[in-house]
Amino acid sequence: MIRVNDKFDVEWKPGMTIRDILNELKFTFPMLVISVNGEIIPKEEWDTRQVQDGDDVKVLHMIAGGR
C-alpha cells in the first residue's frame, strides 16, 4: 500500500510509477511538487520513477489562499 499525503491509500503494484499514482488518484492539477520519502522528484522523472511498497509519497498542489 502507498500512503499519499498521509491521507489517501493507493494499492501498490509491481513496477508502479509516480504517474500511475497520479492517474489512480486523478491528480490532474498542473502545478504539483512530488516527493518520495522526502526526496523531491523532478517532473521529467514522474513517468519512469518507480515507487516501492510502503513509500511515503507527498503530492503537493501548489495553490492556496485565493483563486
Partner: protein, 725 residues
C-alpha cells in the same frame, strides 16, 4: 434592436453641473486627493488625502471603507441617498509594466447583505482615475433623472450630464460613449467607461462593467465589479455611466520613488511568465476556465446546486473547448501591458435569443466562475449556452455568480416540488433546460415574471417561498447557498473544513477571493489541526486583502510560479512574488517594506471592515455559519452518492459503525460531528485573529492595529457589552 446614432445621443445630453480643478502630477503612487460628487444637489468637491489615511488605510479598498464609514449612519440602507458608491484605485495601480496593476475596488452598502461589499475589477478606469488626479471617486445622493458623469483628466473638468436616450445595455453604451468622448480612433484608448445594464434596475445583484479599449480588435472590452449589487446601487442613483478620460498615461505617470526597483520586479516576473506559463496554467491561452476539468476531477465542481462535485459531461465545457473558442494570439490583458493576459474573449458569437437575437457579438469570457455557475451547477454542458448567458448577464449588468447560484437554488426547489410550472409562470426548471434559464434571465432584465423573483437573490427567495408556498425553512436554509445574504461562488467545500470557514467567515460573504484553501486542506493535508487551519485562515485572507488595498490583481501572484518555487521554505506563499511586491511598494513609495509590513496593512483594513459589519448589526459568530450544503450531505441521495467516503468517516473519525444504521441516522451523526468541528474551527480562527469567542475584535486588537478611533471603539464596546464579554 436598432442602435441610435452617437450624434443623436450626444445632442440630447444636457449639462447639469460642471467643475474645474487643478491638474497635478501623481506623487509616489498617490494623487493625494479624492473626488466627491453628490447627485442630489449636484455638488462636486475635492477632498485631501491625509498622511494618516495613507498610513492606516493604505489606499484602494482601505480608502473606500474609510470614506464610506464617514458618510453613512449606522442604519443607512442601500437605497438611501446617503449610501455611497466608491471606486478606488490604490498606490500601485497603474504601474502597468508589472502584470495585474490596473485594478479598482468598488465599495458600497450592498442590497444583498446590508453590509459593506468590496468588489475588485480590472479595465483602465482605475489607472485613468488616478491619472486624472484622484485616488478615489465617492458618489453620494441620487439624481432625479438618468445621468452620466464625465471626468476629463486632460482638461481638469468634471461634468454631470443628463443622458436621456442611451439604452443601458453595457455593450452598446460602452461602445457609444467611447466613441462620443474620443477625438478619433487612436484616442479611444484614453477613454474608460463604467456602466451597469437594464437588469441592474430590477435585481439586487446588479453589477458594474469597467471598460478598456482593445486596440487589436478595435472593440470596447469589459471586466466586472460583480459582487454584492454594485450595479443595483449605481442604477438606483440614476447613473447610466461614468466616463474617465486621461491621455498619455504611462508607467511613469505614478512618479515612483525608485523606478529601478519596479523595473527589477517587472522584468523578473515577465520573464517568468514568458518562459513558464505554457508549462503551468496556460493563463495566456485559456485563463481561469482551465479549472473546470480540474475541479471536476477533484469532486469540487458544483453540480445541481452543489449536490454533487462532478459530472460525466464536464469535459464538454472544459479547458480544451474554451481554448478552441477563444481567439488566440491576441494580447488579452485587462489593462495595457498585463503580460499574464488572461482576459480572453470569443469573437463573432451568434446570439440566438433575447433583444439582440441574431446579432454577432464579442463575448468577454467566460471565466471559470461563469462556466461552473452558468454551466455545471445548472446541469448545462453546452458551451454556447454558457456564452449566451455570459453575454446577457454582462450586458444586462447582472452578476453571473449570484445569478447562477440563485438559479440553481430555484431549480432545486423545482426538483423538489417546492416550485412547479404554475409558480414559475410556465417555466420548466428541470436541470439543464437551457431555454428556461435564458428566459428567466431575460425576464429578470425586463423586471417581470419569475425572473424578477430569481433576481432578488437566494436569501430573499427563501423567505418568499416559505411565506408564499409554505416551504420548510430549515430545508431551504440547508440548500440555499448564501451567507450574510451573498451567494456562494463555485467550489464544493464539503470535504474542506478550512474552506468552509474561508467562505463563511469572509467579511463580505462567501466569495473565494478571500481564501482558497481546498487543496492545502483537503488534498495536500498540510493543515491538519485546528491551529494550522486557523493560521491559514489568518494569513491568506490578510494576504488576499492586500491586493485590493493597492489596486492589484491576485492572479499573477500564484497562477504563475517561479521554476524553483517548490524548493522555497514556504512555497504556498510564493516567496519570490512576495519579494516582488515588497519591491513594488518600496519602489513606489520609497519606504523599505517587509512581508510582515504587507500583512499588517491588510490586518488594519480587514479588522476595520469587521467592525463596520458590527456597526451594521452583523459581524458576529452567528453570522459566520455556512448553509449545511457547504458542510455535508443534506439529502439521502447526496449521502448515498458518496456513501463509501461518509461511512469511512463515521467509522474512522467518529468511531461509529455504520453497519445497520439507516442513511438518515448516519446523516444525523455526521452532521453533528461536522458542525462541532466547524465550531472548533471558529474558536481557533477567532483566537488567532485577536477576536473574542463571538468574533468581535478585542480592544487590544484595535489598539495594536492603531484603528482605535473613538467611533470604532464605540461600536466594539457596544458589541462586547451586548455579548457580555
Amino acid at each position: 434592436m436598432s442602435v441610435i446614432p452617437v450624434e443623436v445621443l450626444k445632442k440630447a445630453h444636457r449639462k447639469l453641473a460642471e467643475y474645474h480643478y487643478e491638474l497635478r502630477p501623481v506623487e509616489r503612487g498617490y494623487a493625494n486627493r479624492t473626488l466627491y460628487i453628490n447627485l442630489s444637489d449636484m455638488t462636486i468637491e475635492e477632498k485631501p488625502v491625509t498622511e494618516e489615511m495613507k498610513r492606516i488605510f493604505t489606499g484602494g479598498r482601505g480608502f473606500a471603507l474609510w470614506l464610506l464609514w464617514n458618510a453613512v449612519k449606522d442604519d443607512t440602507r442601500w437605497n438611501d441617498p446617503e449610501n455611497e458608491l466608491i471606486i478606488a484605485n490604490g498606490p500601485l495601480c497603474g504601474i502597468l509594466s508589472y502584470p495585474g496593476t490596473g485594478k479598482s475596488t468598488v465599495v458600497t452598502i450592498s442590497p444583498l447583505t446590508n453590509l459593506v461589499i468590496d468588489s475588485n475589477v480590472g479595465g483602465m478606469v482605475g489607472p485613468y482615475l488616478k491619472g486624472a488626479g484622484f485616488d478615489a471617486l465617492e458618489i453620494q445622493g441620487k439624481a432625479d433623472r438618468d445621468v452620466i458623469i464625465v471626468i476629463d483628466g486632460d482638461t481638469g473638468t468634471i461634468t454631470i450630464e443628463e443622458a436621456p436616450l442611451e439604452e443601458p445595455y453595457a455593450h452598446l453604451l460602452g461602445r457609444a460613449l467611447t466613441e462620443m468622448y474620443a477625438k478619433n480612433e487612436a484616442d479611444k484608448r484614453n477613454i474608460a467607461v463604467v456602466t451597469a445594464g437594464h437588469g441592474a434596475e430590477f435585481s439586487r445583484y446588479g453589477m458594474l462593467n469597467f471598460s478598456w479599449y482593445d486596440l487589436r480588435r478595435k472593440e470596447v472590452r469589459f471586466k466586472q465589479a460583480a459582487r454584492g449589487g454594485t450595479g443595483t446601487v449605481f442604477r438606483d442613483k440614476r447613473i447610466k455611466a461614468i466616463v474617465v478620460r486621461k491621455s498619455g498615461f504611462t508607467a511613469k505617470s505614478n512618479n515612483p520613488a525608485k523606478p529601478e526597483l519596479i523595473r527589477k520586479a517587472s522584468q523578473r516576473i515577465n520573464k517568468e511568465i514568458v518562459e513558464l506559463d505554457d508549462k503551468q496554467n496556460q493563463m495566456r491561452k485559456v485563463g481561469t476556465p482551465y479549472l473546470v476539468g480540474i475541479m471536476n476531477d477533484y469532486d469540487l465542481l458544483p453540480v445541481y446546486n452543489w449536490q454533487y462535485g462532478m459530472h460525466e459531461d464536464a469535459h464538454k465545457i472544459s479547458k480544451i473547448v474554451w481554448m478552441g473558442l477563444f481567439t488566440q494570439g491576441v494580447p488579452d490583458g485587462c489593462h495595457y501591458g498585463c503580460m499574464l493576459s488572461c482576459s480572453h474573449g470569443v469573437d463573432h458569437f451568434h446570439l440566438r435569443t433575447g433583444p439582440f437575437k441574431g446579432d454577432v457579438v464579442l463575448v468577454d469570457g467566460p471565466e471559470y466562475e461563469n462556466a461552473a455557475g452558468l454551466g455545471a451547477n445548472l446541469g448545462i454542458f453546452d458551451p454556447n449556452a454558457v456564452l449566451e448567458l455570459n453575454f446577457y448577464c454582462d450586458t444586462y449588468g447582472i452578476d453571473t455568480i449570484s445569478f447562477g447560484t440563485s438559479m440553481a437554488f430555484a431549480m432545486e426547489c423545482y426538483q423538489r416540488g417546492i416550485l412547479n410550472r404554475e409558480r414559475t409562470g410556465g417555466l420548466d426548471l428541470t436541470w439543464g433546460n437551457i431555454d428556461a434559464v435564458l428566459e428567466t434571465l431575460h425576464q429578470l432584465a425586463r423586471g417581470e415574471g419569475f425572473g424578477l423573483i430569481v433576481g432578488q437573490g437566494v436569501r430573499w427567495m427563501k423567505q418568499f417561498f416559505v411565506e408564499t408556498y409554505g416551504a420548510d425553512p430549515d430545508f431551504l436554509n440547508d440548500i440555499g447557498m448564501e451567507v450574510k445574504g451573498l451567494e456562494f461562488s463555485f467550489y464544493v467545500t464539503k470535504e474542506s473544513l478550512a474552506q468552509q470557514g474561508g467562505y463563511a467567515i469572509a467579511n463580505k460573504g462567501p466569495q473565494h477571493d478571500e481564501a482558497w484553501l481546498i487543496f492545502m486542506d483537503m488534498v495536500n493535508n498540510q493543515i491538519p489541526t485546528f491551529e494550522d487551519k486557523a493560521e491559514a485562515l489568518h494569513y491568506f485572507p490578510m494576504w488576499r486583502t492586500w491586493f485590493s488595498l493597492h489596486g492589484l490583481c491576485k492572479l499573477p501572484w500564484n497562477d504563475i510560479e517561479p521554476a524553483d518555487n517548490a524548493f522555497q521554505p514556504e512555497p504556498h506563499k510564493v516567496p519570490e512574488h512576495v519579494e516582488n511586491y515588497c519591491w513594488l511598494v518600496e519602489g513606489m513609495t520609497g519606504v523599505p517594506t517587509t512581508p510582515d509590513d504587507l500583512i499588517l496593512s491588510s490586518e488594519r483594513v480587514y479588522n476595520f471592515q469587521r467592525v463596520f459589519n458590527l456597526r451594521r448589526g452583523s459581524g458576529r459568530r452567528e453570522h459566520d455559519y455556512p448553509p449545511y450544503r457547504a458542510v455535508g450531505p443534506v439529502t439521502v441521495e447526496e449521502y448515498e452518492s458518496r456513501r463509501e467516503r461518509y461511512d469511512k468517516q463515521l467509522k474512522e473519525e467518529i468511531g461509529v459503525d455504520p453497519e445497520g444504521l439507516s442513511t438518515e441516522e448516519k446523516m444525523r451523526i455526521l452532521r453533528e460531528h461536522r458542525m462541532k468541528r466547524y465550531d472548533q474551527l471558529l474558536d481557533a480562527v477567532y483566537e488567532r485573529r485577536g477576536w473574542t469567542k463571538d468574533g468581535i475584535p478585542t480592544l487590544e486588537t484595535l489598539r495594536r492595529l492603531e484603528i482605535d478611533f473613538p467611533d470604532v471603539v464605540r461600536v466594539v464596546k457596544k458589541a462586547l457589552e451586548e455579548t457580555g464579554r
